[in-house]
Point group: C2
Chain length 334, copies 2
């Protein structure tokens, strides 16, 4: 048996904590023998949840954390003041190298800030981007960066391209991932100042397969595996993806319920439709890694299911086994 | 009878020129008595199209333009070199005040460049934004700016907010339009440098109803009437709207055809579904005005139908009747 991969799960984070994160962790332990879980949270609450399940007790440990950071709290202040929160306690285990990864459905802002100030960046990494997978017609693409640090410099975007490429190759199993930069036209001379400066730098990178610009219109088709952009634009893309999808689906449902004929039809198409909509649901595509840190931090959706949290744990295991951190270190030459 | 509104229609622009623009113009003339049309294009081709229809001959004039600017041509060079193109000839009529408005389904880049250098901006207007209507659950919102000039300054965004507000009030009939700025969070302290600088300026504007930040996720719900952003972000929003919609719809159609049961259901829901998808089609929401110019320039989609071009002509008529240019001038204090 190879070495255990140690994952801290934020038992207090997310809309359905502690039930859902605890169940996700237990399910992961029962399915994979090489995962060890630290559950960070209020001991009493966590124990009550754990009492519901059978699981390998030698591979789970509760780490007491008496405070909870709420979603609405200003992240920097929360990380500073709530030293005994599940996020701070959990990420501190990463910093001390007692654990390999941290998974949380809690406050995105606090998880990001904590990642930077508690876990810390790999030497040479200028910024740690948040990189969710977004659904496309061909599967999923990595959208990098959707984090909280906006107004990036060209050197940041170049690092995002390299880190994203390493991630997609090692975690999603994509050979020589196609990397594109978000732009407002396909031609090299198009773009804002940031894109124009970054474009030639990406062309020079020998360790990535740069395919040029991608217009937002073409993102859902899935022609690029790694989609590089500055965090403000990344946030707009990620959230509009959710928004257009949700509104369109609700309008379609409404139209199907508009008369008897349609209602009958809706009942017939429902099973097939449901399957399709599921593949186009952003939250279904696992957790978003915060790349370039000394340990892996994964942010799962606030409403993530136990299955999604379980999958995030598997993602952490693979991240460790493939030594993604080591590979990122190799590509980021200081 | 009040004064005629004179609209130049680019007879050579778009995927189906000259058939479609000519038909759109003729239909507009037959429906409204107070429109006069100049058809700019190759006389022989335009005459051949016109021969198919009945229309009031005293309200239509062909303006010879021997050249055509293709979509792929670099816009600045094309506007400079093709002096006898339908776009240059048509926009020159605006500059000379021989016409009130110009409608084209041709090269977006060339229409935008021509608007700036040929038609010219209203005194005090720093930038002329392209402002398409995008479909929402409540109807449509104006997305301003989606043009070609990126890296805007805060003063530009403030002018966009004012011009967009005047447009929605006078053309879409929205009383006190709600204006929001695209941001990555709802709180005032969030955003990139541009948004942070612009936010307090918008709050100070007494002539608009500023409601604060809007996250991309909430745009499709239709809570803001005027959505202000810098052109790079506007382009991403506009094109992702199209892209996500198109991909999702094609996946839904595919899923409905996946088995016999679904196929039967699909036949039943089709009419209602078609209606819904139509309201969510960006190209169905008329032409996008280029605001802040001395005359109105409207860019219709390259694949615009005759009906859409007809509607763009009606839009021009209302723009003139409501004296939108005069109202913009009042709000942009130099």
């Amino acid at each position: 048996m190879s070495e255990l991969v140690k994952v801290v799960v934020d038992a207090m984070g997310g809309d359905y904590a502690p039930e859902v994160p605890v169940k996700g962790a237990v399910d992961a332990l029962n399915e994979r023998k090489e995962i060890f879980v630290y559950l960070a949270g209020r001991k009493e609450m966590v124990e009550k949840e754990l009492a519901k399940y059978e699981y390998p007790k030698d591979r789970l440990e509760i780490v007491e954390a008496s405070e909870v950071i709420e979603t609405a709290e200003p992240p920097v202040a929360a990380i500073r003041s709530k030293k005994d929160s599940s996020i701070v306690v959990g990420q501190t285990l990463l910093r001390k190298q007692q654990a390999d990864a941290f998974v949380s459905s809690g406050s995105t802002g606090a998880v990001l800030v904590g990642g930077q100030v508690i876990v810390g960046r790999i030497k040479g990494v200028e910024r740690a981007p948040l990189a969710p997978l977004i659904p496309t017609a061909k599967g999923a693409s990595l959208l990098i960066d959707c984090g909280a640090n906006v107004d990036a410099r060209p050197s940041h975007l170049v690092q995002f391209a390299k880190m994203g490429s390493v991630y997609m190759e090692n975690i999603a199993g994509v050979k020589r991932p196609k990397v594109a930069i978000v732009n407002i036209g396909a031609e090299e001379e198009k773009g804002n100042a940031l894109v124009k400066e970054t474009f030639p730098l990406l062309k020079e990178c020998k360790d990535i397969q740069f395919i040029g610009s991608i217009e937002a219109r073409d993102i859902p088709a899935g022609d690029a595996d790694v989609i590089v952009c500055e965090a403000f634009v990344g946030n707009v893309i990620l959230k509009l993806y959710e928004g257009v999808g949700a509104t369109l689906i609700s309008q379609i449902k409404k139209s199907m319920m508009s008369n008897m004929r349609s209602k009958l039809g809706a009942a017939l198409v429902k099973p097939a439709l449901k399957e399709t909509l599921k593949t186009f649901d952003i939250s279904a595509h696992g957790g978003a890694p915060l790349l370039g840190l000394k340990g892996l931090v994964v942010k799962t959706h606030g409403s993530a299911s136990a299955e999604q949290i379980k999958n995030a744990l598997f993602q952490c295991e693979q991240f460790k086994r493939q030594d993604v951190t080591g590979k990122i270190r190799e590509h980021i030459v200081v």
